[in-house]
């Protein structure tokens, strides 16, 4: 199956080898068509009007919410629309921090994306709570055993990513959640890298919160989801206040609407929600069976070929992951990535918003290649070809011995 045909950017950039889907996936025509539909046929506001373009658009928005609920096995009112995964993760921390007391413990990891870790770093400083890091194994993995070493009666929050955005490892979140709940701790899962690649079942995981962004899963920019358990959301204070999230407002009091609306202040990203509906349909059509299979095939193939190049060092030896973190030994990733870019191979270089992890790896920066189902074997081969060409070039100019 050649999925490239569904992505207009490949028609406009014929030779592009796109290996940066972990930063943002490409977007199929369906999605921008759905967005344009909103602008061409509705164009107005939702929720507030009682004329056709308004209530028709409202109905579509609520249908998309149902579709997302089904997609992650939640109920409709547990799906909150946010600006993105970062916004979702901050909302959880900003609302829950009010319950934190001095000495309470928050468990997280050095693998986290800054968006998962920093909101809690700030909350902990403000409230005098203590951050505990799950010791990583030698390979940089999170294990249940190591989690147990930091879990305690003081643990109030566990903030953890489902899949690391550099190492690509799958965290044993289900087990971690079960253990956390025994201690009465609340678990906020950063699903930014998981939701695009595997079937998420929040009920099966028993996650308290689950966050992700649509732009990483063939969807629009500017939209994310915060899933939260009904009972928790009901008991929490909203972070942002304003239009459409309240029931009754007087000069000195306000009561809130029911969830999810309590957490959706102001005019919603309507066009983006239309786009998200199309993205979910598209991913459902492709199917996670196919996505997982292709992730493995492509990254497996790339890793195999990379390993045969002596100048390459790979940081994550985890076959299932669609992400490869690596460097050309002796070449700064920023120099390397320019060479790839000149040869139409799009990789990412730097810290990937995961500076603590790079400190743990004891490197200053890395290259990251990430795959998605629209990539193919020829992308892998071009990537390897350019890698070898880069090594030859840097030898020629005297950068590499």
């Amino acid at each position: 199956m050649n999925y490239k045909q569904y992505f207009p950017v490949f028609q406009n950039r014929k030779d592009m080898v796109y290996l940066d889907s972990a930063a943002s996936s490409l977007k199929p025509k369906k999605v921008s068509d759905a967005i344009t539909d909103y602008y061409n046929f509705y164009s107005g506001n939702i929720e507030r009007g009682v004329y056709p373009i308004s209530f028709e658009a409202t109905a579509i928005v609520e249908k998309v919410r149902e579709k997302i609920a089904l997609f992650i096995n939640a109920s409709k009112e547990e799906v909150i629309f946010t600006r993105g995964c970062t916004d979702s993760l901050n909302t959880v921390a900003l609302s829950l921090k009010e319950n934190l007391k001095k000495g309470d413990e928050i468990i997280t990891t050095e693998l986290e994306h800054h968006s998962s870790f920093l909101p809690w770093l700030k909350a902990s400083e403000e409230k005098g709570a203590v951050i505990k890091f799950i010791p990583l194994t030698e390979e940089g993995k999170i294990t249940v055993d190591n989690f147990k070493k930091v879990l305690s009666d003081k643990t109030k929050i566990v903030a953890i990513s489902h899949v690391s955005n550099v190492m690509g490892y799958l965290t044993p979140v289900k087990e971690i959640i079960a253990l956390s709940h025994i201690k009465g701790a609340i678990v906020s899962v950063d699903g930014a890298q998981a939701a695009p690649h595997m079937k998420i079942d929040v009920k099966d995981l028993d996650a308290d919160f689950y966050s992700f962004s649509f732009h990483k899963m063939c969807g629009p920019t500017g939209l994310g989801v915060l899933y939260g358990k009904k009972e928790l959301l009901n008991s929490m204070e909203p972070v942002e206040l304003g239009g459409e999230m309240n029931d009754e407002v007087s000069k000195d009091n306000v009561t809130y609407k029911n969830i999810p609306y309590k957490f959706e202040a102001g005019t919603m990203p309507i066009a983006e929600i239309f786009g998200a509906g199309a993205a979910i349909d598209f991913l459902n059509e492709v199917g996670f069976g196919y996505i997982e299979k292709r992730d493995k095939e492509l990254s497996g193939y790339a890793k195999k070929l990379l390993r045969s190049i002596p100048e390459i060092v790979i940081y994550n030896d985890y076959e299932e992951s669609p992400i490869i973190a690596f460097n050309i030994k002796g070449i700064h990733s920023h120099d390397a990535v320019s060479f790839y870019s000149e040869n139409n191979v799009c990789l990412r270089a730097g810290l990937h918003c995961a500076e603590p992890l790079h400190k743990w790896l004891n490197i200053t920066a890395s290259l990251r290649a990430s795959f998605y189902f629209y990539n193919d074997e020829s992308d892998v081969e071009k990537f390897i070809f350019v890698t070898k060409k880069a090594i030859a070039f840097f030898k020629e100019v005297g950068y590499l011995e």
């Binding site: 920023h334 320019s338 000149e342 730097g350 500076e355 200053t364 070039f393 005297g398 950068y399």
Partner: protein
């Protein structure tokens, strides 16, 4: 690959491999400026000493890609001994050159001219600029105080 060749030139590689004025003095009279490029992890320290309106010494240190490190080394070589005013003028035109803006071609940029090709690599402009920006910061403060 003519483009890549235009930036990875021998002078740059030489300065990257054999950085000049490397290592900070941390002595009286030296003023330090630390700048970072957070997304790629580049990090540069530039120390300068000013005496009688002249940049009498420049030291540099840090980590980063070859362009970033080489530019710190070449900056330190090229501007040492210049007057604060001349140094600022060179920095200004150098930064314009790498950013592909109009600059005064009559000014002698000396070895810094090897970075001309950077203008075709927008993603690398910041790498070539960071050391110059760090030095400018201290020199501008110096000029104001003088």
């Amino acid at each position: 690959m003519s483009d890549m060749n235009s930036i990875y030139r021998q002078v740059i590689m030489d300065h990257y491999k054999n950085p000049r004025n490397k290592g900070l003095k941390e002595e009286e009279g030296y003023v330090l400026c630390h700048l970072k490029n957070p997304s790629c992890g580049d990090m540069i320290n530039v120390e300068s000493k000013i005496q009688n309106g002249l940049v009498s010494d420049i030291r540099q240190d840090g980590q980063g890609c070859s362009i970033c490190c080489a530019s710190a080394s070449i900056i330190s070589e090229t501007l040492k001994g210049k007057s604060v005013k001349d140094a600022l003028n060179i920095i200004d035109n150098y930064l314009k050159m790498v950013s592909n803006e109009e600059y005064d071609k009559s000014i002698d940029l000396d070895e810094l001219a090897v970075f001309e090709g950077i203008k075709d690599f927008p993603a690398r402009v910041r790498c070539a600029s960071i050391a110059a920006q760090a030095l400018r910061k201290t020199l501008e403060k110096e000029e104001k105080n003088a």
